[in-house]
Assembly symmetry: C2
Homo-oligomer: 666 residues x 2
């Protein structure tokens, strides 16, 4: 027997969007975004309803702010409401709906009156609604006056005119008793990040390879010296692999050899030595002060530093001695090194995130403290190393904890693993994630993958940071396609996603790989390098041009506005990005084949931009500087990979005035 306590609300609120896994996880937006929420909302019978979108900042005592929703499709019971996300924090939002008794009555009474029926009883009901409201408010001049006017109205028409006044309808809605009120559950959450979470260009570099003397470690001072050049290329974020002291015991040698030579510096990911652990700086790079000086210098130039957060400990990490309880042990009580059987990683040890007897709690707190240590020193971006091999519940906890103190903190998940795991890391809080973009080279697979990333549910919680290469991945297309491929893949990364990155030496076209692998030969991971940053064949000017185009075109600052269009060639990818108001429209067309010139007929989606088949418009090629006056859907391109593997057009409308062109943003 089901207990009959109070009648349930007849109002239904369902199909609320955006929403991840039915509200189990927050969606993500950036400051300044308008959040538009839609839902299917209805009740049984014919009564009118009022749905309200409600929101407030999380973790405050703030009252809910209410926005009335509007019906956008009555046949489908679809409603919509919006509000602006002003602050870099987490907001809660939900929907409340109730029956609008007064308006329901008014609609019915009006229909009867208009049909010529005598409605004395209905008019009495209307009066009762007003009286009940007045009782509830205890005192209200406007309502008292309205009731007085009603009592002196000489005809049913006169009364209906009073009942129908817009001011009265609004008043009655505002002071509604909210009969049948239902609220959507669970309460939904949106993480509002700062803009850089969605829009930034990353440059990854090993500090020790920024020096000029072969065999000698570069320092933070050397890094600082490179800033003007990196700034000129147009990057926003400088991401450094771990800068902490590197272990000596079982240190890896060049090309990942098991035994290090006397001058081999070791992998920066084998963290911890007599000089300290995750809160210390590798002495050969400089001091903590040197790092902070470098960080400040970046900031002054409008860039910022991202640090690597790698939860590995070398055998020499102080934690091993001070907190052996945080590590996995063998039956004989010794600490295990990391392994992926049969592979052994004898230079590092992994934490036990479920360390027994409550030891895991102190471990989690200490790791949070490491993040806070660097956040206090100005670092607000962390690239997290292999988060999928650590504890997912730990990430969910620590990201929320750090963002409580520093909501501007950005976490990038470096997880290249199975899709379900990568998605989960996005859902539980990672601000950005690595993607399979690095391996998607062909037209169909790019369209399929990018459509999933940017047009389906993933766009709500997963921000793909498109890396064209990483210290671990020198993609085959770059190895074989060389300079044209480096340009082509750069153009793709920088225009397909609003957030992307390269690992240094990309700008030099460095393509020396270990035979048969997508790995760098003589990788910086295991040795100090000295680079000629102006080496012939570099693509630094090309990078600077494309980053300039990104900066100047707001359409490229958005992530989920990517649309693919028809290009009559399997080697040519054609897509657009536009701002929601279409004041900035970018069309990009890329030759995916680095070996030969491709021609293609493009189908310009003029209807999507409200350009008629006979309206003229202008395509301004931001790569070549040329302009084309166009009409209709057809446009032909020829893309020589050695010259320009990609064209980026800004579409300008043609205004029929003497002044001529009006193209936006120029």
């Amino acid at each position: 027997m089901r207990p009959l306590t109070a009648p349930l609300s007849p109002l239904v609120i369902e199909n609320v969007k955006p929403c991840v896994d039915d509200g189990k996880f927050p969606i993500k937006r950036v400051v300044g975004d308008t959040l538009t929420v839609t839902a299917t909302i209805f009740r049984d019978g014919h009564a009118k309803i009022v749905p309200l979108l409600k929101y407030k900042e999380k973790c405050t005592d703030q009252a809910w702010i209410e926005v009335e929703m509007v019906s956008i499709n009555p046949g489908l019971d679809l409603w919509q409401g919006s509000f602006k996300l002003e602050k870099n924090t987490r907001y809660l939002y939900t929907i409340e709906a109730f029956t609008d008794i007064y308006y329901s009555w008014l609609v019915d009474a009006t229909k009867k009156f208009d049909a010529g029926q005598d409605i004395p009883s209905d008019l009495l009901e209307g009066q009762q609604h007003l009286e009940e409201t007045l009782d509830r408010l205890e005192e209200n001049d406007y309502l008292s006056q309205t009731l007085a006017m009603l009592s002196t109205a000489e005809s049913q028409a006169g009364q209906m005119a009073i009942f129908s006044e817009q001011r009265l309808k609004d008043f009655m809605k505002e002071h509604s008793a909210r009969k049948d009120a239902a609220t959507f559950e669970p309460t939904l959450e949106v993480i509002v990040d700062r803009l850089q979470a969605r829009y930034s260009a990353w440059y990854e570099m090993f500090p020790r390879s920024q020096g000029t003397v072969p065999g000698q470690s570069g320092t933070f001072a050397d890094c600082k010296a490179r800033l003007p050049e990196i700034k000129r290329m147009g990057f926003d974020v400088i991401y450094l692999p771990p800068i902490h002291p590197i272990g000596v015991t079982n240190r890896k040698g060049r090309n990942n050899s098991l035994v290090a030579g006397p001058n081999d510096p070791g992998s920066p990911w084998a963290i911890g030595s007599e000089h300290g652990g995750h809160k210390a700086v590798e002495p050969s790079l400089g001091t903590l002060e040197d790092f902070m000086d470098f960080e400040q210098a970046c900031r002054q130039m409008g860039m910022e530093v991202a640090l690597d957060f790698a939860l590995n400990c070398s055998p020499d990490h102080p934690y091993l001695k001070d907190h052996p309880e945080w590590f996995l042990k063998r039956p004989d009580g010794t600490i295990k090194y990391s392994e992926n059987p049969p592979k052994k990683y004898e230079d590092i040890h992994s934490f036990d995130y479920e360390a027994p007897n409550g030891a895991w709690k102190a471990l989690w707190e200490e790791l949070k403290d490491v993040l806070l240590f660097w956040a206090e020193r100005g670092v607000r971006i962390f690239r997290v190393d292999n988060p999928h091999t650590k504890s997912i519940p730990f990430w969910e906890w620590v990201i929320a904890e750090v963002q409580d103190s520093y909501p501007d903190t950005i976490f990038l998940a470096e997880a290249f693993t199975r899709p379900a795991v990568m998605k989960r890391l996005g859902k539980i809080g990672f601000t950005q994630s690595y993607t399979y973009f690095t391996w998607r080279n062909f037209k169909r697979e790019i369209i399929e993958y990018l459509t999933e990333l940017t047009q389906a549910e993933m766009k709500e919680y997963y921000r793909g940071n498109f890396f064209a290469n990483t210290p671990d991945i020198l993609p085959e297309i770059l190895q074989v396609g060389r300079r044209p491929a480096f340009k082509m893949r750069f153009a793709l990364a920088a225009t397909l996603s609003s957030v992307y990155g390269i690992y240094s030496s990309y700008e030099l076209g460095e393509a020396a790989a270990i035979e048969g692998k997508e790995e760098y030969l003589n990788s910086e991971k295991y040795e100090i390098k000295v680079w000629d940053w102006d080496r012939p064949g570099n693509i630094k000017d090309y990078i600077a041009l494309i980053n300039k185009i990104r900066r100047e075109n707001p359409a490229l600052h958005l992530y989920d506005n990517l649309k693919f269009h028809e290009a009559a060639s399997e080697n040519v990818l054609f897509y657009s990005k536009a701002t929601p108001d279409q004041s900035n429209i970018i069309l990009a067309v890329v030759n995916l084949n680095p070996f030969s010139t491709q021609q293609a007929r493009l189908d310009i989606p003029i209807d999507q931009f409200k350009i008629g088949p006979d309206d003229p418009y202008r395509l301004h090629n931001l790569i070549t500087g040329e302009s084309h006056l166009c009409r209709g859907r057809e446009f032909f391109v020829t893309l020589d990979p050695h010259k320009d593997p990609a064209y980026i057009f800004r579409l300008g409308r043609w205004l029929h005035t003497e002044e001529g062109f009006d193209y936006f943003g120029m």
Copy 2:
């Protein structure tokens, strides 16, 4: 600060299917179905997991029954499990997953051993796993013996052989400590109906029109006399509009006129008179005993009665006098009649499902009591009149309450309204629902709508009962298309859905409509009729043939196995239904144009039936009796609407044996 109490499970269980609105509502199946559940299940790191599908009957103290799930796509972390639904009741199901410590250890140890590594520490760990399990079990001969064998094993190879035995792996899984165990929430529910909920053919008739004397009400005895004929046509359910006493006050006259003549019987939906209300029988039809006699007669012939559950009260219903508190009132205290302004329904009054001062509770209990009253008398199917204009929370409560006592009760929702409301009624418990099929006539719209109904999420909770006509709807296609249209629409209803119905006189091709409307002229709703059930031009034999084909072909007993295929004509609809094991495959092709013969080339989807391009197969035309020996995908049909607007083929495979044909089920 988030409290750190116990580490959360690293196991993730998500994307569980089937599941309606993330588990807010039950799915539906019928007795004998196998429920197959899939889910994305994984954990961080590399450890092996064991997911279990768990189920039990709801409302019992039964323990969970566990079925181990199998990995069906490791890359996507997709797992699957199944169990058979044996009883007509509600089951609960969920998924539990845990880390398989022993097997995880074994996989890693094996990899190391196979790579030639010396693994004494790993072997010690394996032994510890066994010892811990033995401690937990306190006593176990098998495990003690295994440990003894291990201690005497002379080599690492010998120990690994013991550790790797299948029996030990199974034992360790079965007796696992279930580390990290996580259970999917919310617990999911499946309503397991009896077969008739999904597979039945309905025949609707007004008892008072089953007589033979003009102007004189037919009786239950007359109804009984018609049973052999209805049985011969092949129907399973005889659905009667309300059989209760009809009100006199404000009774509607013929063709819905406002004033009834002295001999007008009134609308059966205006329930209640001095002879009683919803638990009484209209005297002109007979007594309650007469009804029960009729009900028994149906049952003996393998058919059953469905009653109408219409929550309207005529002004003469005893409830108005006995329970005025259950109705909506005017300001002067009188009871309101029903209305849809400016339309008035002065012959009926609606209940107030939120009647104040707790009166609604007694109302809800009384209405439940009405259903139980008829259920006790053998009626287990209710067609609910306009449920969307009543209270949705009431339906959710009362359906569950009645099915607790009579799980074999079927509720059909007669809601023709907006899609969101119709879907909701299915979600909250209605066994079957009316659909827009009645108005879908053209190829594209049929394919689109039926695909949504049978192939998308709706199939889990919404069973469309396809009525070709109703007392309220005489579709335009029947009015203009006449006999060919009646045959065509019947064939569609009976083969597109496993559950369908007609309203009597359909078999006679009755098409007299009110000018310009889809309504019957001289509707039975307001007058007594006498029919010539053998009137020339009737399609009774056609109906009997198609119902026979339905009975003999299990593919037509299923609802969500509908697939559309290519027919090279906009007027020809081509679709198939097959049993999951493909032992019964039905292809149907229908000329949607009742005015002219259509020809079309069909694209037989032989690949879906695992028939190669060169394999012969047979199409047996169950309408004409002809057979065709075929090869390849092309097949041409000519459909003369005056002769056969539809062909229904059974596809028979060709076995390369001397015996020749083996087509299934014949």
